[in-house]
């Protein structure tokens, strides 16, 4: 069983003649005098950072999804046309998820087999007393919820490590 684009193209859309303004709740496919899509406008109020005019890919509804996924970026829009008319739009989170999942995304794609080797955090104690700062260095595997006692090499009053 092969999934076709028409199975996925369920995003709400409206077709409008050029020039057009973006619809508030749906994708606007702007077409020229011949009915050919020339621009796609994102819904007004779409997530910040999404440009109003978005890159789009024209495809037939029969096209297998796997063939197109390799060519797409997560923020692209797929516009389906059949017999010269717009018949569907696939965009938004559904498309982004599919692109990131890819034609087949193996768990090994997103992981390297090696070990993480990030150095421990090394801080200097910020405890201050009478203008003198402790500055004792100490390493931590992570930020402790309870700070340990400081080595206090400069003989200040006994104190916990000053983060």
């Amino acid at each position: 069983m092969t999934f076709r684009l028409r199975d996925r193209a369920t995003s709400p859309y409206v077709v409008a003649d050029d020039p057009a303004v973006a619809a508030p709740d749906r994708w606007t496919v702007v077409v020229d005098a011949h009915g050919e899509p020339v621009t796609v406008l994102a819904p007004i109020g779409a997530a910040d950072g999404v440009p109003q005019e978005v890159a789009f890919v024209l495809a037939g509804g029969d096209t297998p999804v796997a063939e197109v996924l390799r060519l797409l970026e997560p923020d692209d829009v797929v516009v389906l046309t059949e017999a010269g008319a717009v018949t569907g739009v696939w965009a938004g989170d559904g498309l982004a998820d599919a692109v990131m999942a890819g034609p087949s995304r193996f768990t090994t794609d997103v992981r390297l087999p090696g070990d993480i080797r990030i150095p421990e955090v090394r801080r200097r104690c910020r405890y201050a007393e009478g203008g003198a700062v402790c500055h004792e260095p100490m390493s931590f595997v992570e930020k402790p919820s309870d700070l340990p006692g400081c080595g206090n090499p400069h003989g200040l009053a006994a104190h916990r490590f000053g983060w």
Binding site: M1, P103, T108, D109, I116
Partner: protein, 299 residues
């Protein structure tokens, strides 16, 4: 019968899964089946099969294909573990002899010659304590330690790779997937080949098969394992170069996606990566003040 059921099943599955996982598993299961039939005797097996009714044959075919697909899914889930085993992430006592061999190879490299230096760059980590006991392990470790080198970017590749992968352009991701797929296929094939003689023992015992046939199968499996391992090393070399390239070309895009201010110097970049990876991984950083967010575009 098996052919049509198998064709229908693979039509439901992704091509990459079929080629990289299902095919090696199918060959492996086919080898074991051939051994079993060899024990029972081909004429007896054929007679038994022909005595089944059509519906029973169909169910058996479906069950066999389902079994192979299930085995393939299990195998796919073990690819990372298998890769680590082939790399040499073993207990220290077991790894020691292999590390000694690799150390000798590492020490013999003449870094003053272009060939020697290139080999160290591609096949070995820079620091001796990072050596692993197998060639595959060292090739992959050389690639993984490339971005983390304090003379390069100082960012931990293993930690940042899943994040970088999410911001790679589609064509780069495709190259990554292709190289990783080749590596995974070779690793899986080598693993299955090593497992074959072991799995074949109960099959031969159960079917009353010939141990001579088992020996031939085991010999063939060893040859396949050696060839597959060499392919895995080649795959790791290619994957390693792609990995280095992804970090070279797209790490600043990753910084942008984190919303951080781009540093002006390489030195500043190293310090920033260190602060970011410590903050994300260890929940604190040596210098958290380096993590400055870019203002929003409309400000």
């Amino acid at each position: 019968m098996f052919g049509s059921v198998f064709t229908s099943a693979t039509g439901l599955l992704d091509r990459r899964f079929t080629v990289n996982v299902l095919l090696p598993v199918l060959v492996w299961a086919g080898g074991l089946t051939a051994l079993a039939i060899g024990g029972i005797g081909w004429p007896a097996a054929l007679t038994w099969w022909k005595a089944r009714a059509g519906a029973e044959q169909a169910w058996l075919a479906v069950a066999a294909v389902a079994g192979v697909v299930l085995l393939a899914y299990v195998a796919a889930g073990q690819t990372m573990a298998l890769t680590r085993i082939w790399e040499g992430y073993w207990p220290r006592w077991l790894a020691r002899p292999g590390v000694a061999v690799q150390r000798r190879r590492w020490q013999r490299l003449d870094l003053r010659t272009p060939g020697g230096y290139a080999r160290r760059y591609r096949e070995f980590p820079v620091d001796e304590p990072d050596l692993l006991p197998t060639r595959l392990g060292n090739v992959l470790r050389a690639a993984e330690s490339y971005p983390g080198d304090p003379e390069r970017y100082g960012l931990d590749a293993v930690f940042f790779w899943p994040r970088l992968y999410l911001v790679l352009p589609a064509d780069a991701r495709e190259q990554v997937d292709r190289c990783r797929g080749a590596l995974d296929r070779a690793v899986l094939t080598a693993g299955l080949a090593v497992l074959f003689p072991v799995a074949a023992v109960p099959v031969v015992v159960w079917s009353g098969g010939s141990w001579r046939l088992w020996l031939i199968g085991a010999g063939a499996a060893v040859v396949v394992a050696v060839l597959a391992y060499r392919s895995a090393v080649d795959g790791a070399l290619a994957f390693g170069e792609i990995l280095r390239g992804c970090f070279d070309l797209h790490r600043l895009t990753l910084l942008d996606r984190f919303g951080l201010v781009r540093p002006e110097t390489l030195e500043g970049e190293r310090a920033l990566w260190m602060a970011l990876q410590q903050q994300l991984y260890r929940r604190a950083a040596d210098e958290p003040e380096l993590l400055r967010l870019r203002p929003a575009p409309d400000q």
